[in-house]
């Protein structure tokens, strides 16, 4: 009996010890700060007001953010105005009225939402702007350094269209929407390069409105006027395929260099391979989305910081892609992100 009792006690003691040891080890393996992080992020509400979800970059961002939201338990709602500025204003007003923890916004131009963003900040809602800025600076901006983008693209043309071997010094800037942030800031960068290379001659500066057929028509007309055109720079690969088509139809693919920027989607790489585009400055929308996802986390984690009290800017990476490297990670497909 005694032996049995002793065994029982030892057994129980051993179990108890093991138990405490287990608890102790569980406490040790919980990643430092993770519980607090999840606590801060979980159950929060984020609303995204894009320009249009039909664009490749938007799809990449939202896929990345949805994954992030599902993993850490916050909600992300997309209020798509589908390119309609008035619908966008209503979406923004609705979002502000709902008092979410964070509004993400892609501005159609620098003015439209400027006052609404101030209102949101005054109402204590944090605002993250992605890729297209407003005149109002808010908590955070994640996106392109558009002035640098203008410099890079015109710099690329300067390489081809200056010097003794250049076919001419004539270049074209196929703009997007003239009031858009990308357009305004790229122009600053372009002007810097034009100033540094006075022999470059900007022969046309017309907005194609992000529409390929319009880009094609402008390019076709300009090519008639300037058959010795050297280079074209644009603002979105999906629009500049139209410029490429006009150059190809004129049989001038070897003469005219076409430079643009894009989200890095596989369709852009296809356009390079088809010879419609020469260089895409790729801002890799999935990577941009990841940077923004971390920014979302940061803004949600610190509810004590007042909306608009700190203003940060994150410029994403820009990769130059031409026919030698239009493969792999430079050309994402939606199914790769999911």
């Amino acid at each position: 009996m005694r032996i049995f009792k002793k065994c029982l006690f030892t057994g129980l003691a051993a179990l108890a010890l093991l138990g405490t040891a287990r608890v102790a080890s569980a406490q040790e393996t919980d990643q430092v700060g993770r519980a607090a992080y999840i606590d801060g992020v979980k159950g929060k509400k984020v609303i995204f007001v894009p320009i249009s979800q039909g664009m490749d970059l938007n799809q990449a961002w939202v896929m990345v953010w949805q994954r992030h939201a599902a993993r850490y338990g916050f909600t992300l709602e997309v209020r798509d105005p589908n390119g309609d500025t008035n619908a966008g204003i209503r979406a923004m007003q609705g979002a502000i009225a709902e008092k979410p923890d964070l509004i993400i916004v892609q501005n159609p131009d620098v003015q439209t939402y400027a006052r609404l963003l101030k209102q949101a900040q005054a109402a204590g809602i944090k605002v993250l702007q992605v890729n297209m800025q407003s005149a109002t600076q808010t908590d955070s901006y994640v996106g392109n350094d558009w002035i640098e983008m203008g410099r890079l693209e015109m710099g690329e043309l300067a390489k081809h269209c200056t010097g003794p071997n250049a076919v001419s010094h004539k270049v074209v800037w196929l703009a997007g929407v003239q009031t858009g942030a990308a357009n305004i800031y790229m122009r600053t960068g372009i002007d810097e390069v034009l100033k540094a290379n006075p022999e470059l001659q900007l022969v046309s500066d017309q907005p194609a409105d992000y529409i390929s057929e319009k880009a094609r028509q402008i390019t076709e007309t300009v090519l008639q006027q300037h058959p010795d055109l050297c280079g074209i720079m644009g603002i979105w690969d999906n629009a500049e395929v139209g410029a490429g088509a006009a150059v190809a139809a004129a049989g001038k693919q070897d003469q005219v260099t076409i430079v643009t920027n894009g989200a890095g989607a596989a369709t852009g790489c296809e356009s390079i391979k088809n010879g419609l585009l020469d260089v895409i400055f790729n801002f890799n929308a999935p990577t941009q989305g990841e940077i923004a996802a971390q920014q979302i986390s940061e803004l949600l984690q610190h509810p004590d910081r007042k909306a608009g009290s700190e203003k940060t800017i994150f410029f994403g990476p820009i990769t130059r892609v031409d026919k030698t490297d239009a493969t792999g990670r430079n050309c994402w497909k939606p199914e790769d992100i999911k």
């Binding site: 799809q59 003239q178 017309q206 390929s212 028509q217 007309t221 008639q224 006027q225």
Partner: protein, 332 residues
């Protein structure tokens, strides 16, 4: 041509029809641009002008056909982008692209049929019916297709020919526009059906009372205009390798109306024809080409275009004054 336009013209001492006014403006612009702009009067630039208006012109032929019948078809751009995008979308399932295009054409014809029934049978005023249907068609497309921009498969020989081919130095896009315009012209002038369209447009109630099949005529108009819109979409896909459904949000549909009204097809129906559409198209083509060469800003281009539309509407109102008969229901 039916209508009381000629007698009004005489009364005003204004013999020129709107078409003549538009042709005169075109000639003046052409001469001024030729004299002042380097390379404007080159063979290449003339072809570029025609090529750049081929899509607009094709759409305008369809719109003009509907307007002659006292209707209006605001679904054209939606039908064009969604029809072609649908074809490209189903071709990604592995269906042969040519077959996919035929499926797209059938879908588009079905949409046209529905629009026609809404206008002719349900008697919804065409401006409202087509505005609502345009929005639904585009919206449905927007839900189905993930992206705004859809690229056609790269190795379709006939599509490449549509985009880059030419016959006797004339680009295929221009030839297709010419063919659509010629067929429509013959159809309106030479066939009984075409004459019935004028009769219906001139006075729908009188046409119905005399026993004309006005409802089937109206339904057919919308089917045909939808198919013409689809043709324009195929030209565009050939030219730029894909279709951008966001065109629906652009001012294209108004540009199409501009061409029709500018050319002198009265919105009160029953008048005008393909010649008017061509006159309007050529003026817009010359104007856009000149303004692009002059590197006018987007805003000023739109301003100039709008002023011309307003002017055309004003001239239309003077030449074809509204009276009790023409301002009956169906007129917009």
């Amino acid at each position: 041509m039916p209508g009381s336009g000629q007698s009004n013209d005489r009364r005003l001492g204004f013999k020129a029809s709107q078409e003549v006014v538009v042709v005169a403006i075109s000639v003046v612009l052409f001469v001024v641009f030729s004299a002042t702009l380097h390379n404007f009067l080159s063979q290449g630039n003339i072809i570029a002008i025609l090529k750049n208006v081929s899509i607009l012109g094709t759409l305008a032929v369809g719109m003009g056909f509907v307007v002659v019948g006292r209707g209006i078809d605001l679904t054209m751009v939606a039908v064009m982008v969604v029809g072609v995008a649908f074809s490209i979308w189903i071709s990604t399932w592995g269906i042969d692209f040519t077959l996919a295009v035929i499926c797209g054409a059938l879908l588009v014809a079905a949409i046209g049929l529905f629009t026609g029934v809404m206008v002719a049978v349900a008697e919804v005023p065409p401006i409202f019916a087509t505005l609502a249907i345009a929005s639904s068609v585009y919206g449905s497309g927007r839900i189905v297709f993930a992206s705004d921009v859809l690229y056609a498969p790269p190795d379709i020989a006939w599509l490449k020919f549509v985009g880059n081919g030419s016959v006797l130095g004339i680009p295929m896009s221009v030839l297709i526009f010419g063919a659509v315009a010629a067929l429509m012209g013959l159809f309106l002038r030479k066939t009984r059906f075409g004459r019935l369209v004028y009769a219906t447009g001139d006075n729908p109630n009188a046409a119905r009372t005399t026993g004309l099949p006005t409802r089937p005529i109206i339904v057919m108009q919308y089917v045909i205009s939808a198919l013409i819109a689809f043709t324009a979409g195929i030209i565009m896909t050939g030219l730029v390798t894909g279709i951008d459904t966001r065109l629906y949000n652009s001012s294209l549909i108004y540009d199409v109306l501009l061409v029709v009204v500018l050319g002198g097809i009265g919105l009160s129906g029953g008048q005008g024809g393909v010649r008017n559409v061509i006159a309007g198209t050529v003026l817009v083509g010359i104007l856009t080409n000149g303004m692009t060469i002059l590197n006018f800003s987007y805003t000023s281009q739109n301003l100039i275009k709008s002023v011309i539309l307003l002017g055309a509407l004003a001239i239309d109102a003077i030449i074809n004054p509204r009276d009790e008969q023409t301002s009956q229901s169906g007129d917009i």
